[in-house]
């Protein structure tokens, strides 16, 4: 059976090693995209892809992307939670690729919460 050969892997390993913050605990921000069934059906995969591409473009080595299960708020999917070091987490709802890119540039890079996209405090309810 043919194994995937990735010739560039060695090159990329050296390159990333030179530029990235490889030590753990150095991340400044974490973005969690909700990947439950409702999230996926509403477009969560495209949100994560757009985020990865933008992170690569901007060379943001201190931003971690991760996924979690259903957040219990299916009608507001796709959703993502942004956590900046030492700040309370912010939940963003009804996301699009454009919105998540803006969140990355305005909230994560510049530090300003985009209230228009955020889940209003108190409106969080399951189902």
């Amino acid at each position: 059976m043919k194994k995937l050969k990735i010739g560039d892997l060695e090159k990329i390993r050296e390159k990333v090693r030179r530029t990235a913050n490889l030590r753990q605990g150095k991340a400044r921000a974490k973005i969690t995209v909700h990947m439950g069934t409702c999230g996926i059906a509403a477009g969560a995969r495209e949100i994560l892809s757009a985020l990865l591409k933008e992170i690569e473009k901007k060379k943001l080595n201190d931003v971690i992307v991760t996924t979690s299960g259903c957040a219990g708020l299916c009608s507001r999917e796709p959703m993502a939670t942004v956590e900046i070091k030492d700040k309370p987490p912010v939940k963003y709802v009804d996301l699009t690729a454009e919105k998540i890119k803006k969140i990355l540039n305005v909230h994560i890079i510049k530090g300003n919460i985009i209230n228009d996209y955020a889940l209003a405090i108190g409106s969080e309810r399951t189902h």
Binding site: M1, K2, K3, L4, I6, D8, L9, E10, I12, R13, K15, V16, R17, A20, L22, V33, M35, G36, T37, C38, I40, A41, R45, E46, L48, S49, L52, K53, I55, E56, L60, N61, V65, T66, T67, G69, C70, A71, G72, C74, T126, H127
Partner: protein, 183 residues
Amino acid sequence: MQDLSLHILDIVENSIDAGAKKIEIIIKENIRQNLLVLKIKDNGKGMDKNTIAKVLDPFYTTKKTRRVGLGLSMLAQAAKEAEGDFNIKSKKGKGTTVTAKFVHDHIDRKPIGNMAETIIVLIAGKGMKVDFIYEHHKNSKNFVFDTKIIKNELNDVPINNAEVLNILRKNIIKELKRIGTMI
């Protein structure tokens, strides 16, 4: 769900929720037999007989946030619509295998969709904790993608690094084109 790659992402999320550390995704396309088979195999906590029997009920879930579970019944429905077959094998404490079969050229068979994106998103989310193996066979051609091997080659560079993921995405697309399943 628009296509099978999204169903697969969703079924794999179940495996992740079940604490799996190794998840295999196998797609076999056989044009001569007019058959498409998806298999998702994990080594998570598994289910007992009782749970397996309930799982295909679209209202059954063990989640605390919601009362409906949809993932498995949606894939079962997709298989049924393409005159296929759906099956779950699970052993408590050992793991679970979900298999869906489809008539390949059936008019109601959902397209495979973007498997490269599904794999990349899985690695981005859980690639540091879980090993993913993706096998895709089309007629006599095939390829295997194993994150364990890639992690070894990367050494201390994390597999979920955005630049690494970009390279991996390009490679998966290239391979899927080589075996003739992605245009």
